[in-house]
Symmetry: C2
DNA sequence: CTCACTATTTTGAACACTCAAATTGGAATA
DNA sequence: TATTCCAATTTGAGTGTTCAAAATAGTGAG
C-alpha cells in the first residue's frame, strides 16, 4: 500500500507534468512539496525503487504508467470529495480543497464508489477539473487560457486553475465560475491586461489572473466544446 | 497536535475505562492496540509526558482530564461519521466502523460541525453509542446488559456493544437493533442462555452474546428511560 | 523462603520521513 | 581555461512508531 506521503508526491508530479513539464526538476518538486531538496532526492529514489517513477539524475522525475495510475486514483478521490462537500454538505467551492487534501487519503474504495454513485458519476469537480473514472480514464477537453486570448470573443468558463480560497472568492464575487459565459472586450498585450464582460458585469484582469481562467471558446457553428458541465458551485 | 497514533491510544484507553477499569493494564492495552507490550510501555510514557495520561508503573494507565477531553473529541468524530455514513450514504450499520476509524483522523472541526448540523445534532450513533457534543458532554443513560436479566420482563434495546460486522449482521437479521422492543421469556443461569421475543420472532441467546445487548427496561410507570432514540439503522 | 510464572520494562534495531549543512556536477561566463 | 553559480546529492542526525528478545519485578504456591 502506498503511504500518504507517497500519494502526495505522485499526485504532485502528475500535476506538474500536466502543467507542461515532461521531466519535473527536483527543485520544483521540493518547493511544491514544501521540503528541502535533499528530501526530494531521497524520496524520488524510493519512488523509483517501487516502480512509480523514473528519473534522470540531476534532470528530473517522470511518472511510470503505474505511477500515473496511482495519481489518477488519488485525484479521483480528491475531486469526488470536493464535489461531494459542495453538493451535499453545502460547502463553498473556495474552501473544499484543504479538506479534500486530508480526506483523499482516508476514504475507502467503497465509500468513493458510493459518493460517485450518489453524485451521478460526475465528470468534473467544482473547479472544473476532470474526475478520472474508476479505471483511471479522464475526459479530455481542448481548453484555452484566458491569458492567451488575442482578440475579442465569446466563451464559457470551463475551469479555474487555482485552489487558493482568496482567489476563488474573488472569482465568485465577479461571476467567474465554471459554466459562466464571458465575452472578451479587448486585450492589451503591453499593459498585460484583458477586459471582459461576465453576465452584466464588466471587469479587467491582469495576465497572471487571466491565466488561471480556462475557457472553451464558442465556435460559430457551436461545437461540443460549448457544453460545459462543471457541477454545482457556491 | 495529537498524532493519529496518539488519538487511537487515548480513545482505546477511554473505552477500556468505560468498560469498567479504573486503571487499564498495559497488557490489555497492548492486545487491544495489536502491538507488543514493550510498545505500550514506550507509548504510555510519551502520552504521560504530554499530559494525556497518568500511570502507575506495572499497574496500568488512566486518562487525565486533558486525555479524556481528547478521547471525547475523537469519539464525537467517529460516531458522527458512523451516523452520517448510515443516514446520508446509505451504508449498513454493520459496515461503518472501519471506515469511521480512518475518517475520524482526517475530518476537520468545520466538517464535523456541518455533519452534526445536517444530522440535527444527534445524541446517539447507529449502534446506540452516545455522541459527545462539541464541548465534550455525553448523555448518561442507565442501561443494563441483557445478560444481567434475572427474570422475564420487557425493555427497549438501546445499544449494541460490539462493532464486529458479523455479529451486527446476525443481530440485524433477528431484529436486535437499537429501538427494538424485546421481551425476556426465560433465563437459564446454569445453561447460560436467555430466551426472548423480538417483534414476532422468538430466539435464544448465549450469555456472551446477550452481554452485548444493552437494554432500557420498561418500568411500570414508564420512566424516561423508555424513550430511546438511536438514529436510523439499516 | 524460594521457585516458578506472568506482566512489565529495557535495550537495540528498524522503517518512513525529514532536516541542516557540506559536497559535487554541469553549465554558463569571463 | 579557470571561475562562478545553481541545482542536485550525500552525509549524519532526529522524530515517531514499531518489533524481537533479554532482563526484571511482583505474586502466589509450595
Amino acid at each position: 500500500m502506498a503511504t500518504r506521503t507517497v500519494e502526495d508526491y505522485i499526485k504532485r508530479i502528475y500535476l506538474e507534468q500536466q502543467a507542461g513539464l515532461e521531466l519535473v526538476p527536483f527543485g520544483r518538486l521540493a518547493s511544491a512539496m514544501d521540503v528541502v531538496p535533499g528530501t526530494v532526492t531521497t524520496m524520488v529514489k524510493a519512488l523509483a525503487d517501487s516502480g512509480l517513477v523514473g528519473y534522470e539524475p540531476r534532470q528530473g522525475v517522470r511518472l511510470t504508467p503505474a505511477g500515473e495510475m496511482l495519481a489518477l486514483h488519488v485525484l479521483r478521490r480528491h475531486r469526488l470529495i470536493e464535489l461531494f462537500l459542495v453538493r451535499v454538505l453545502r460547502f463553498d467551492w473556495s474552501e473544499v480543497h484543504d479538506e479534500a487534501e486530508e480526506l483523499e487519503h482516508a476514504v475507502s474504495e467503497r465509500l468513493i464508489e458510493r459518493i460517485d454513485e450518489l453524485l451521478g458519476r460526475p465528470g468534473y469537480d467544482p473547479h472544473g477539473d476532470p474526475i478520472p473514472d474508476a479505471t483511471g480514464r479522464v475526459a479530455q477537453r481542448n481548453l484555452e487560457s484566458l491569458s492567451s486570448a488575442r482578440s475579442s470573443g465569446r466563451g464559457t468558463i470551463a475551469r479555474i486553475a487555482d485552489q487558493d480560497p482568496e482567489f476563488l472568492r474573488y472569482a465568485t464575487d465577479r461571476g467567474l465560475i465554471p459554466g459562466a459565459v464571458l465575452t472578451v472586450e479587448s486585450v492589451d498585450p503591453i499593459g498585460e491586461s484583458i477586459r471582459l464582460v461576465v453576465g452584466d458585469r464588466s471587469l479587467t484582469l491582469g495576465r497572471t489572473a487571466a491565466a488561471k481562467i480556462l475557457v472553451a471558446w464558442a465556435s460559430p457553428l457551436g461545437s461540443d466544446l460549448d457544453r460545459v458541465d462543471a457541477g454545482t458551485n457556491g
